[in-house]
Symmetry: C2
Subunit: 375 residues, 2 copies
């Protein structure tokens, strides 16, 4: 819990707050549609894998759910209500077998970075909710909850955020120095490997932390963006978006409004794993059983709209731009970006959208494998 | 959990956020000094009344503490760290008897109204803290936590806030209509009784909610402002402060900047119980044993400074003023207030400070008295 270290690495790693036209709240329909497409899977898998005869799920206890990387709603509320509905269904159907097993109370923890706009999150909470609420500030790349206090963890379209840009990438003279680029997309092997190394490290920390926080038999849903094995980021719409962004930054540098050096040292802290890479990391960690991995639908890829997609990008990365370049260039940068994006027909073409959304359903293994505690 | 009702009643019932010169953070030294004066009592009483052999205090569980009405720090952090230190002492001294009884992890819940500035609270969290954190938005005049999930509750200088101004007081034609005044201080018996009735109702709700949330044997510290039996609010510095405030509001109304009607319908939602009144309410509620009631010191009463006390009042009630009159008069009102306050020597006199700070230490009675669960 060394917050000073966290802050240093992540002070602008948050979505745009408030409720205005540039806010994440107004520009996260894509993420919402992903949650819609995961809705049924969540019902099916909770019904199958939530083990109500396991002591940590005693309904005398509160059922505790955390959403990691919640941002400011309303998507987080939608996701949580779907999970609660599935859990309540499970308890209800169990009551036929065991009538003394009442539906528990729910306590929901909404987590995001310290700089997340929790004020807006709390103001927007659904008024008719049937659960108790708490907000938890801090990076999910680290422990946020006491040992064995969560029953269910949820993390949607957040795990592509690295805890930091890998050091070597921004370091002049390093073999992985990423001059002239802002991401591993289209960069050399060393850059890709530096990013992949950071992702491995971050996922290990994430899984260990959640492994400690979840009860034995606790469940976790991850929704994340990645590429099918063999697909390169540079061939995708994400790669295309980053190419346009770097060209716009260079334009702003050419106007003399920001320094070349700042552009050279700017890199986006995003990583998009393939399914086999992700599976490998979860298995190597060893704390969770993978109960299901599935591809989700691809929302908003038909007839994508340049304005909508530009606003979406801005809501996500404006904080990073401000942190590196100050707030003086944001308006201009995204004005240029919108023009250029609209003139890139390839990016508006379906074939360009090669990234995929993955759904992963995990179950915390028992801390003591059966029998071991008897030795 | 009907938030719409809560919001209606309490949307500006919060301290001034941020870190600026008018913020509560910069103007709550009085409250801080109260916590300092309660420090030793808390150590002594936790040592005496925290029963580590009681199953809900099993150190395998997290030890959960909530601060009700936390505002935005730093006082809340100070209070919590003192409580944790006292609890850790108790566990340590217990380890001599029972070495297998380790110190638990701590999870701290900081509660205040939805409109509290949680962003500032989270940003200001101590970096070297040894506890997990969550923020809980909502009125403490109602349930905020699942059943039996807290071990310790703390509420300091917050319980004089009523959940709302008693209806009759602001109602033209009611026998309790409080025309020309903004509080029961100096008002007729009906007004005082309307306020007292609201306080009784609110305390009953508060105690019932905390009674459900705390485990059996759970502890609660209340620090609150009141008057010794027989002392009238109108004879005190609080009464004097309100007299000046109403005269300033009338001045602003005479300038034509706010309407007389708005002044007439404005009433402060504060109530200051006497110790016997408070004791009576806790005993009538019946869920808690009163382990100790004590008077606390009277910080900042020597040589009070008009500017400091004006800033303090402003940090507390600016939200209420804005809610009733808009934000256009705040600067002017407090400029007039400061002038007039500085010219009121009686208020700067020690003899005027007749209100007292009470410390109350409560213990949750067992839900099932010993033996009853065996019937």
């Amino acid at each position: 819990m060394d917050e000073s270290k966290l802050k240093e690495g992540s002070c602008k790693y948050h979505m745009i707050g408030g409720d205005g036209p540039n806010s994440y709240a107004q520009n996260s329909e894509y993420q919402k549609q992903l949650l819609v497409s995961a809705e049924e899977l969540i019902h099916e898998l909770i019904d199958k894998h939530l083990d109500l005869e396991n002591p940590p799920f005693d309904p005398q206890n509160t059922f505790k759910i955390a959403d990691f990387g919640c941002s400011i709603g309303p998507n987080a509320f939608f996701a949580i209500e779907n999970i609660i509905a599935a859990i309540v269904n499970k308890y209800k159907s169990n009551q036929n077998k065991n009538p003394n097993h009442p539906i528990p109370e729910f306590q929901i923890f909404f987590n995001d970075l310290v700089d997340n706009d929790f004020n807006t999150l709390f103001t927007n909470l659904p008024t008719a909710r049937k659960y108790f609420v708490a907000g938890v500030p801090g990076s999910f790349h680290g422990r946020l909850f006491p040992k064995s206090t969560l029953h269910f963890a949820h993390c949607s379209t957040a795990l592509h955020w690295l805890s930091r840009v890998p050091e070597a990438v921004a370091k002049r003279g390093s073999t992985a120095w990423n001059k002239g680029k802002i991401h591993y997309s289209g960069a050399g092997e060393e850059v890709k490997e530096a990013y992949a190394g950071q992702y491995r490290e971050d996922m290990e920390v994430f899984l260990n932390a959640r492994g400690e926080e979840l009860v034995d038999g606790g469940l976790m849903v991850l929704v994340l963006i990645g590429f099918r094995d063999g697909v390169l980021c540079s061939d995708s719409s994400i790669g295309g978006v980053f190419d346009i962004l770097i060209s716009c930054l260079q334009d702003v540098a050419n106007m003399g409004k920001i320094s070349e050096e700042k552009v050279d040292s700017f890199n986006l802290p995003f990583y998009y794993p393939s399914p086999s890479e992700l599976k490998g990391l979860i298995e190597a960690n060893g704390l969770f059983n993978i109960e299901r991995m599935a591809e989700l639908g691809a929302p908003m890829r038909r007839n994508p709209d340049a304005q909508v997609l530009t606003s979406h990008l801005r809501a996500v990365i404006e904080g990073l731009i401000e942190e590196q370049f100050g707030d003086g260039i944001v308006e201009e940068l995204f004005t240029i970006y919108l023009e250029r994006f609209a003139k890139s027909p390839a990016l508006l073409d379906d074939r360009c959208w090669k990234e995929t959304n993955y759904f992963v359903f995990l179950k915390r293994k028992p801390s003591f494998p059966i029998g071991e505690s008897l030795l």
